[in-house]
């Protein structure tokens, strides 16, 4: 079946360092969404990207959708303790198809 590969599985950073997670598909995507799940919590929708080459920003978070609509990234500048959690991408090939979830990237702030 269709898959969305998300890397890395974990990223340990010092507070103040940047964080990036990547999602890749072998198939052209209709759209891609990003979710954040805090420890013990539920996934919370962050953003949706639909256009080729799209870049969206939310404060310190920058989301990109590749020109070929096969990859996407989430970049966090100057991480804070409130950023801790697992970031998931979820993508769809078509509006009539379910979202396919990446495995998630866990952001861990080093003490």
């Amino acid at each position: 079946g269709q898959q969305v590969m998300q890397i890395p599985q974990y990223q340990h950073v010092q507070e103040g360092e940047d964080f990036t997670t990547y999602c890749n598909s072998s198939t052209t995507l209709s759209n891609i969404q990003w979710y954040k799940q805090r420890p013990g919590g539920h996934p919370v929708f962050l953003i949706q990207l639909v256009k080729s080459g799209e870049v969206k920003k939310q404060k310190r978070l920058t989301f990109q959708f590749g020109e070929a609509k096969k990859n996407s990234s989430l970049h966090i500048t100057a991480t804070q303790t409130t950023d801790v959690g697992t970031y998931f991408c979820a993508a769809s090939m078509d509006s009539n198809y379910q979202l396919i979830w990446g495995a998630g990237t866990k952001l861990i702030i080093k003490p």
Binding site: S30, N31, Q33, Y35, G41, H42, P43, V44, F45, Q48, F88, A90, S92, D94, S95, N96, Y97, Q98, L99, W101, G102, A103, G104, K106
Partner: protein
């Protein structure tokens, strides 16, 4: 505030004893989903309702059933829980198309003893 509400927050059941988890929404969304999430894994879709139409994922065990008596409510029934069914169960809704953004409830953490 419009939201998705799951009850209970924690559920303990015995091996083989049927259990029902509930979900309600005030968003008036036409699509409702049940996901299973195990530790350090992505949510796994069990099934969804598109309006009244039930759609089962191919790999969802027959042990899992669902009911949607009206737009606002959806139930997950586990007929004979096994130890492997211990997980977080997440209800979600979306409006419009199947690839629209999801609104999740807080989840029910199921323990099987």
């Amino acid at each position: 505030d419009a939201m998705v509400i799951q009850n209970p927050r924690y559920q303990v059941t015995q091996f083989g004893k049927p259990v029902t988890l509930s979900c309600s929404q005030t968003l008036n969304h036409n699509v409702m989903y049940w996901y299973q999430q195990k530790s350090s894994q992505a949510p796994k879709l069990l099934f969804h309702y598109y309006d009244k139409d039930f759609n089962n994922e191919a790999d969802t065990p027959d042990n899992f059933q669902s009911r949607r008596p009206n737009t606002s409510f959806c139930f997950l029934d586990i007929r004979s829980p096994g130890l492997g069914d211990a997980a977080m169960y997440l209800c979600a809704t979306s409006g419009g198309r199947l690839n629209s953004p999801l609104h999740f409830g807080n989840g029910t953490r199921l323990t099987v003893t």
